[in-house]
């Protein structure tokens, strides 16, 4: 029984890993296509049908490029930076429920790597260590522009983590549990969180943009001021890791948004499908629903990137500390009052 359990979990973990990598890969392609669409261009169309092989070509290019090491006394930390960035981008997916239970050979298998008691705190923990990848790598590059960029990136991430956590608290007040599975089940029963907590959703969405260092908050990569940002000194696949980690982060934060606010794998009529068509088809449809929601959020990230210009740094800090955090606190108070009045 125990070995079956280990095999089952290993399959799920490998599948989630492969899915994250695949999504990150094709997000780079989608980014170019969306950019092209928004700017009335064609986009990549040479490698494969509609440019579908473009990510593979990019990967081959990055792998075969010369590996350049800057003049730095910290070669080990220089290599450690991208490794941390990539690892932290990949380990968040362990606590996400990808679907309801399925039945394989009479065994009920939950489509989730692990359902720990403190899932949400785990995600915040991983987010907070994600800063190290950027900071250590940039410091070890021995380059002032890289260091400035890392300082920007990390202060931005620390500032927005606060508002993100406060926005999450109002959700936790409603669910009474830190497990993402419980939050999804609660939404399946009572309706999606976005209808109850639109303000928390908005704050969380904005903070996600800041956490993943995407436009309009991509001050860490401000070309006109900072050359290439924290990965200025990086080349070949080490830079590829940084870029890849950004897309993997984007995928994971889209997933968290979908799970926490849009009901995760829940779709209207899920109970009916489970009853009449069997739970395997229900779980499959649920997974596809979650996937559609994730794709919508990834598209939204790109949509915003090619629509809204970059913020100035003081505007970014003003928004984070003086607008989002007070709003999140007010949201917590309102949630508490409403819960006391209506329960």
């Amino acid at each position: 029984m125990d070995s079956v359990f280990i095999i089952e979990k290993s399959i799920i973990i490998v599948a989630v890993f492969a899915l994250t990598m695949l999504m990150a890969m094709y997000s780079t392609w989608a980014e170019r296509k969306v950019a092209a669409f928004l700017q009335d261009r064609v986009g990549p169309n040479r490698a494969g049908w509609g440019g579908l092989l473009q990510p593979l070509a990019d990967g081959a290019k990055l792998f075969t490029k010369e590996e350049f090491f800057p003049n730095t006394p910290n070669k080990f930390l220089f290599i450690l930076g991208p490794a941390i960035a990539m690892s932290t981008a990949l380990i968040t997916s362990a606590v996400i429920p990808w679907g309801d239970q399925i039945e394989v050979f009479g065994r009920k298998v939950a489509l989730q790597a692990t359902d720990i008691d403190v899932s949400i705190l785990y995600i915040f923990g991983v987010l907070s260590i994600g800063v190290y990848g950027i900071m250590i790598g940039a410091w070890a590059s021995n380059n002032k522009y890289s260091l400035m960029s890392a300082v920007r990136a990390s202060s931005q991430m620390i500032s927005y983590e606060v508002a993100m956590g406060l926005a999450m608290i109002s959700i936790l007040m409603m669910s009474g549990s830190l497990s993402l599975k419980d939050i999804t089940v609660m939404q399946a029963n009572d309706g999606w969180n976005i209808f109850y907590q639109p303000l928390a959703f908005l704050i969380f969405l904005i903070c996600s943009f800041a956490e993943t260092n995407r436009t309009p908050f991509d001050l860490a990569e401000c070309e006109s001021e900072l050359i290439g940002g924290y990965h200025t000194e990086y080349s070949s696949m080490k830079m590829g890791f940084y870029l890849f980690a950004e897309y993997a982060n984007m995928f994971i934060s889209s997933t968290i948004l979908a799970v926490v606010f849009l009901g995760g794998y829940h779709f209207p009529g899920m109970a009916w499908v489970n009853e009449n068509w069997g739970i395997n088809i229900g779980a499959l449809l649920g997974f596809l629903t979650l996937f559609a929601k994730i794709c919508f959020f990834i598209f939204f990230y790109m949509w915003v990137r090619w629509t809204i210009p970059r913020f100035r740094y003081d505007q970014l800090m003003h928004l984070g500390w003086k607008i989002l955090i007070p709003l999140a606190v007010i949201n917590i108070i309102i949630t508490g009052i409403v819960m006391v009045l209506f329960n």
Binding site: L77, I116, D117, V118, L121, Y122, F124, G125, L127, S128, I129, V131, Y132, M135, I136, W139, L147, A150, V151, S154, S155, I158, E161, L178
Partner: protein, 167 residues
């Protein structure tokens, strides 16, 4: 199995703690300390206290050490900049740290954990629900004091930054 994990974690904890003190480069020290914090979180996990482990990582590794690293990187400390401290100051520092450790150990030895009844009653006393109840029922006064302490330090920080603006 668990014993082996414990020994590995202990070795990492003690080794990195030692390296934190010994290493010449301040940034390397900070990175060793981060690894030490992770190993400590692993010890908490061995006790099956997930909440404590994760919060330890968020607060210490994720927030405090990032800010510390931040300052260290911007100051760009060299060995030449460091002022040589007299032997007497070093001895005094070690002595006072030892005294503090003694007081802490004495306090912990005499302490009566309030959640002992939760442990005896057989509920999952590491779960967040029980932890929250213990914090806000049995330990409410220290809990509020801790929050007042944090508030005071926050107000102090704001006050200092405001004062500089006027000058």
């Amino acid at each position: 199995m668990l014993e082996i994990v414990f020994y590995i974690l202990s070795a990492i904890t003690l080794g990195t703690a030692f390296l934190t003190v010994v290493s010449k480069n301040a940034i390397h020290s900070a990175i060793y300390l981060v690894i030490c914090f992770f190993a400590l979180a692993g010890h908490y996990l061995l006790f099956n206290s997930q909440f404590l482990a994760i919060v330890h990582i968020i607060v210490y590794a994720g927030a405090i050490m990032v800010l510390l690293l931040f300052t260290l990187m911007l100051m760009n400390l060299d060995n030449d900049d460091e002022t040589k401290k007299p032997l007497f100051a070093k001895l005094a520092a070690v002595f006072s740290a030892g005294i503090l450790g003694l007081v802490l150990i004495a306090a912990l030895r005499k302490a009566q954990p309030e959640n002992i009844e939760y442990v005896n009653s057989g509920v999952d006393y590491q779960s967040i629900k029980v932890l929250g109840k213990v914090l806000l029922n049995e330990y409410q006064v220290p809990f509020e004091f801790a929050s007042i302490l944090l508030l005071v330090s926050m107000i102090g920080a704001v006050l200092i930054s405001k004062k500089e603006e006027k000058i």
